[in-house]
């Protein structure tokens, strides 16, 4: 029983209230009521989400854009697979480069076996594609032929008609020499009629042309699927070629062995050199080769950024910005809350800078940060951050700092305003008691002011983190700082048949992470709140 209440309390604090009926049902508390609750808070949302998926998969294909059809859930799922595959490939290459000894040779053997399988698979896929293309070409021709014929015929007819009309008019004009002004006016009318007729023909031609163009937009799923299979296999071959190379002749082990042999050779040449040889030259060769050996041994595969790593970097960036924002906003907020004069002094800044978009801040920040770091790779801050464990793996550069600062600048306002509000609303009685007890400034601050204001401060922080997460993606797109934003921008610029679906994948990832961040902040907020107010969504 004790245990059950602990779980329920935990659920309440984490804001996952929809789980509590499940716990209560498991312990047999009012089953009928719990089932009703489960129906309302778990089954209904699931049904709603399924309905959304269904509606999406039905509506999406109806809207054709020039960038391809709007992807259905299935296509988006497929794109997720593609993104993951790319990540896997790159990770495997990275690992392959570092493998040594038996493991390397084993992996090499396996990869070679897979390569051998691939030949047959690829041949079959290509055959299928050829067959699909042939059959769809027939269908395409059959579908397009009538509208093409209609358009071509109409175009010819219109050309003929125009020629006949022009000839007739020219003939008429030739006889106008001795005509009266009235007759000439009539001729002008004829000319006008001819123009109108040409206009009308052009209009109907345009209609036919549109129909012809529309018929051409038809796509055949079987060809698409066959091409997709060919592409996936070709990508795998591409990967395997490089993978084999990195496991074989170009593995670090092989390169180090080569460099070592060369260094040894140079050393022995130097040690055993006769008196008439250039010892200075031989000696520097030894040093050069030893240096080369050292760099080879320490070399790493230059792995491109993949989405999972970009997500982590984005999270790091948003938290850096968020921490920075908190360090600025909370003290200033407290001062604002304590002193109405200080508040009056800050208000114009808050009012002025709060509405500024991240897209305005970012270029400014980039220029300022860039100004501090003329040689970023050797700047002390970058070197320092590069040495921090974990963080160091994510290549902290000026772009990262600029994005983080932009996040901070855009998100600090919510915390600042909420903190000021929280501090300002401290009960007068509490302050009077503090005065009676003759508490100093600092004890008053930490014993009374901050604890009272804490729930509101956390409410502010929660909003700040949400804003920061939204701002970050925009900042990354603009600064080309590696992260989710850069991924979206890259996919957009790729403009391939997969891009559209890949951007949808990002929508869900960004949404999911945003939701998780919010939940975390809710937990903190609840932990510091005295009252157990109802859940806020």
């Amino acid at each position: 029983m004790e245990f059950k209440y602990k779980i329920l309390k935990g659920i309440d604090i984490s804001g996952l209230n929809f789980l509590s009926p499940v716990v209560r049902l498991a312990t047999g508390e009012e089953p009928a009521k719990q089932l009703r609750e489960i129906g309302r808070f778990i089954v209904v949302p699931i049904i709603a989400f399924l309905a959304f998926l269904w509606l999406w998969s039905v509506v999406a294909p109806k809207h054709k854009t020039k960038a391809g059809e709007v992807p259905t859930p299935a296509v988006v799922w497929d794109a997720t697979g593609g993104i993951w595959r790319f990540h896997e490939y790159e990770t495997q290459k990275d690992q392959a480069y570092q493998l040594t000894g038996g493991t390397r040779l084993d992996t090499l053997g396996k990869a070679k076996a897979r390569m051998a399988e691939l030949d047959a698979l690829e041949a079959r896929a290509k055959e299928q594609l050829a067959a699909a293309e042939a059959s769809s070409k027939e269908k395409f021709d059959a579908r397009v032929a009538p509208s093409k014929k209609a358009y071509d015929d109409a175009r010819e007819a219109s050309k003929d008609a125009r020629r006949t009309r022009t000839e007739a008019l020219k003939a008429e004009a030739a006889q106008l020499a001795g005509a009266t002004p009235e007759q000439r006016e009539t001729f002008l009318n004829h000319l006008r009629d001819a123009d109108a007729a040409a206009e009308a023909e052009k209009k109907s031609l345009d209609g036919l042309k549109a129909a012809y163009a529309d018929a051409q937009t038809v796509t055949f799923p079987e060809t698409k699927d066959a091409r997709r299979t060919v592409t996936v296999l070709a990508e795998e071959r591409q990967f395997l070629v490089k993978y084999l190379d990195m496991l074989g002749d170009n593995s670090r082990e092989a390169k180090v062995a080569d460099a070592k042999a060369k260094a040894e050779e140079a050393r022995s040449a130097f040690l055993n050199a006769g008196p008439d040889e250039d010892l200075y030259k031989l000696g520097s060769t030894v040093l050069k080769r030893q240096e080369l050996l050292a760099t080879t041994a320490a070399s790493q595969y230059a792995k491109p950024w993949t989405l999972p790593k970009q997500i982590v970097r984005s999270l790091l960036c948003v938290f850096s910005g968020f921490l920075l924002a908190s360090f600025i906003a909370i003290p200033i907020g407290i001062l604002c809350g304590l002193s109405p004069t200080f508040m009056a002094a800050t208000t114009p800044f808050v009012a002025l800078f709060k509405p500024v978009s991240p897209l305005v801040w970012l270029p400014i920040i980039m220029i300022i940060v860039g100004g501090f770091m003329p040689d970023p790779e050797n700047h002390w801050l970058i070197v320092l951050l590069g040495k921090v464990p974990f963080l160091g793996n994510y290549k902290i550069d000026p772009m990262f700092l600029s994005s983080a600062i932009t996040v901070a600048l855009c998100s600090l306002w919510a915390t600042l305003v909420n903190t000021a509000l929280g501090v300002g609303s401290v009960d007068k009685d509490h302050m009077n008691v503090a005065r009676v007890l003759r508490l100093g400034f600092w004890s008053r601050l930490f014993k009374i002011v901050i604890p009272t204001a804490l729930p509101l401060i956390f409410a502010g922080l929660r909003i700040s983190l949400g804003v920061g997460w939204m701002v970050l993606v925009a900042a990354e797109i603009l600064s080309t700082s590696e992260g989710i934003g850069k991924f979206v921008n890259d996919m957009y610029t790729n403009g391939s048949s997969q891009s559209f679906a890949q951007m949808f994948v990002v929508v869900f990832i960004v949404g999911f992470i945003g939701m998780a961040l919010d939940r975390i902040m809710v937990v903190f907020q609840r932990l510091v709140s005295f009252e157990t107010a109802g859940s806020t969504l």
């Binding site: 790319f86 163009a213 091409r227 050779e265 760099t295 790493q300 040689d375």
Partner: protein, 452 residues
């Protein structure tokens, strides 16, 4: 087990060819930037085919969102080097836009751009010139059929809007060249008019390459000049018609270069040679032919279609990189030289290429003052580094990766005078002032400058 067998062989080779010593690179982990265009291929291929690794370099290749960001990242040191527009190192060095001394040891490619117009402009051009109203019109198509359209629009108080990718891009100069060759004024730049619209009959604006098709479709612009795959994309999506390629505007014109800052080049003298070596091998690999057929292009397209590189569909990239160019779905032409990466002494950093860009910058007023002919030669020498290229090439020859006869035969770094332009005008890199004064439309300089 293979590597164990190879090592003794390598060691043996190493002692025979003492001068084939691996370069002691100053920096072995490099970051190169690129824009998602197929002409970044040499950089990507040098990485994927292991040519960088052969030089002991681990290179990260990072996509940049636009040319300005790319250049800034090179200048600030976030990137070691990058795929650049030929005009970028020149403009940066002489101070058009962001000022910084950028140098280039390697020209990445020739040609590769095209001018695309929207479907409605194409229809009007067909009305103006019935010869164009065919499934396979005759090429090259000049802007003559466009002139009446611009005139009609001017009469209505409107100006035709076209897009190009950057003020100092080859695309800007090519589009201007094509328009001006038909007597359409694309407008001058001046100290106060940095948009280059003074006297313009057609207004040009900057749009990042990947956004060209969308901007054309939205009707903001009626045409654009851009590299691949964005012209083929317009054909594939049916939103526009490429009318002319830059190969037809100027046969074998220099397009992109590999640029680094002067400071970086000075600090890393061996690394820059090592990078150039890898790039030369990549260029050669890309242009390898067997019986006149480009044999490696299909693999290159596969590599480029990876999402971290160009990322467009393989089929779309293949259209322009395997020797054909689709003007319309019905009009696919053989164009074996549409993308040149090594042939025709492409990759050598020619001074005359630099002079051509300088003349265009002067022609359209980006260079605001009159300059003597000697200035053109000196400026080109500040930016192009043929010495680095030759050092790299010689090292490759000694390693057996390059043949002696694959080197350009030049003594002074100038290409011979050529008339391979759409208007038949002659360009001689040694006579910039005469060249400037030979254009009907464009700023002209005092002929006496030719001898100063």
């Amino acid at each position: 087990m293979r590597f164990r067998l190879i090592i003794p062989a390598l060691v043996g080779l190493g002692s025979q060819l003492a001068h084939a010593e691996k370069l002691a690179v100053e920096k072995d982990e490099l970051k190169f930037g690129f824009i998602k265009l197929t002409d970044c291929a040499p950089i990507v291929i040098a990485k994927e085919k292991g040519f960088f690794e052969d030089e002991g370099l681990q290179v990260e290749v990072i996509a940049q969102s636009n040319w300005k960001v790319l250049l800034d990242n090179v200048i600030t040191g976030n990137l070691d080097g990058a795929h650049m527009l030929s005009g970028q190192p020149i403009a940066a060095t002489i101070g058009i836009g962001t000022e910084a001394h950028i140098v280039t040891p390697y020209t990445l490619d020739l040609n590769g751009n095209a001018i695309t117009v929207s479907n409605s402009i194409w229809e009007q051009m067909q009305e103006n010139d019935p010869d164009l109203d065919s499934d396979t019109p005759e090429h090259p198509i000049s802007a003559d059929a466009l002139k009446p359209i611009t005139e009609d629009m001017l009469a209505e108080g409107k100006k035709l809007q076209m897009g190009m990718v950057f003020p100092v891009s080859t695309h800007n100069y090519e589009l201007r060249y094509w328009l001006a060759a038909a007597g359409i004024h694309p407008g001058y730049y001046s100290k106060t008019d940095v948009a280059g619209r003074t006297d313009a009959e057609v207004e040009l604006s900057v749009t990042p390459p990947p956004q060209m098709p969308a901007t054309l479709e939205a009707g903001t612009i009626s045409g654009y000049c851009v590299g691949e795959p964005w012209n083929q994309q317009a054909v594939a999506k049916g939103i526009g018609v490429p009318v002319v390629t830059n190969y037809e505007i100027w046969k074998n014109n220099p397009e992109k270069v590999f640029g680094v800052t002067k400071k970086w080049a000075d600090e890393n003298p061996n690394t820059i040679v090592a990078v150039t070596k890898a790039l030369i091998r990549a260029g050669k690999w890309l242009d390898e032919t067997v019986d006149g057929k480009l044999v490696n292009r299909e693999e290159a397209c596969r590599i480029l279609s990876q999402p971290n590189y160009v990322g467009a569909d393989f089929e779309v990239i293949k259209n322009s990189m395997t020797g054909t160019f689709a003007f319309q779905k019905s009009d696919i032409q053989d164009m074996p030289d549409f993308n040149v990466f090594f042939k025709h002494d492409c990759s050598y950093p020619w001074y005359s290429d630099g002079v051509w860009f300088l003349t265009q910058m002067r022609r359209w007023g980006q260079i605001t003052e009159t300059k003597p002919a000697s200035w053109y030669a000196e400026t080109a020498k500040k930016i192009y580094l043929p010495d680095v290229y030759m050092k790299a090439a010689e090292s490759l020859i000694s390693e057996g990766h390059l043949a002696e006869d694959e080197l350009p035969k030049t003594t002074d770094g100038y290409k011979p005078a050529t008339k391979d332009f759409i208007d038949g005008n002659e360009f001689d890199g040694k006579k910039p002032i005469e060249y400037l004064n030979s254009f009907k439309i464009g700023i002209k300089d005092d002929p006496s400058m030719a001898t100063k």
